[in-house]
Amino acid sequence: MTDVTEDFTTGVGNSRPDADTRGHVPGDSSMWFFVVGDLIIFGVYFVVYMYFRGQNHELFLHSQARLSLDVGAVNTVMLLSSSLFVALGTVAARAGNSAEALRRFWTALAFGAAFPLLKMFEWIPEISAGLTPGTNLFFMFYYVMTGMHLCHVALGLVIMCFVIRNLKTSQPPKISFVETGATYWHMVDVLWLVLFALLYLMR
């Protein structure tokens, strides 16, 4: 389904809902195949996690107590802010203002890069305290799910670097590529929101 509005660079205002881009699929449509599929794969993981948590509430609750809730919360805010600036950057890029878009994507990259760093600050003390994937089923779920999510974050950061390079070099920037990168990054953010609730917050 070729994206007919791919090179659609009207100077659209940010607030007015754009009637003319009704039905505009951000990024190329086959990327959405990947995004929806990834959501489904992680969805299966979340449901299986909940099922096994139902089997053994005590173990999950006590193990969960060992996690540091604060780093998780800060990480969530980091990803959310990074997502915001990616979204703002996309709007600016679509409005043709590459300089502004570039600044926003750099900020988004900064926030995004903070996530793996914080994750390391969280994991290393835990692992050195002996809480490894082999400890029990909760920590296996914890490390596997956050590990796979971290791989997606790493891939997202790489894609964002390519988006920044695209914004810097080509005039006008390839909008569909910027949107594809943004869509992927937002998916990573959505996955973390659910992960944060399941692993840290729920009791």
Binding site: F34, G37, V44, P133
Partner: protein, 264 residues
Amino acid sequence: MATAPNPEAGQARSWRQNRKLDQWIAFWSVPFFFTLFGLVFVPLSWMMPPRSPSSTTPLIVDFMRSHNLLVACVILTLAFGLAPVSYSCYLIQIRRMSVSPAFRYSMMIGAITGAIVGMLFPMFCFGLGAFRPGYSPAVLTMLYDFGYLAFIGSLGCFCVMWMAFGLAILLDQNNILPKWLGYYTVWQYVTELMAAPVWIAKSGPFAWNGLLTFWFAMTLYVSWQFIVYLCIYRAIKNQPEAELDNARPELQPAALDNGSRMGA
């Protein structure tokens, strides 16, 4: 043997004259190999679906001494040469793409490694257990673990293969294979990540017979294998005659010679 209808000037050509005979032979050998693979693994030797890593030693010893494992070993050692043929079906499609040859070379090297560590070696681990009755339970349990972990836990070689294949499809401008298949192939990389915990967990959803690491990863893999196979069929079928290596001169577009068609 499927007689692929030949778009040549209408006269009925027996499949022997089909211009893409080598591709069709390689293509139709794959379902034969996979059905044989399935039959050997599931009904014959009941190796798959895998037993639990924490099953009791007598159960392991009893399973490792069954004669069917040897028969499975023989059939596989005779047939496992067809795995490279199935990989070469993917490689010829990558060769047609406008990507650097590095993609198909990395896939080729991944295939070589994968065929040994992912198939032959684990198969022999089971065969060895059944070959000589005198082994102590400790040795048999080691072979049992080695066999299953090598089958399900061999990750890296397949990672590089699916990544190379997926990236090649995504970067390809000739649109030999659909872009969504490229993303689907990159998922196979994710299924390898999902299989990593088999080396740690001995029970539950992350063991080598676990719900997530085996069953979910297997459904993703088998469905992908089937779909990619259909796309390869379409790609072979739609390849114009002129583009073949053995295209006759009158079909050959004027200036193209063998070398220039391949991407830099």
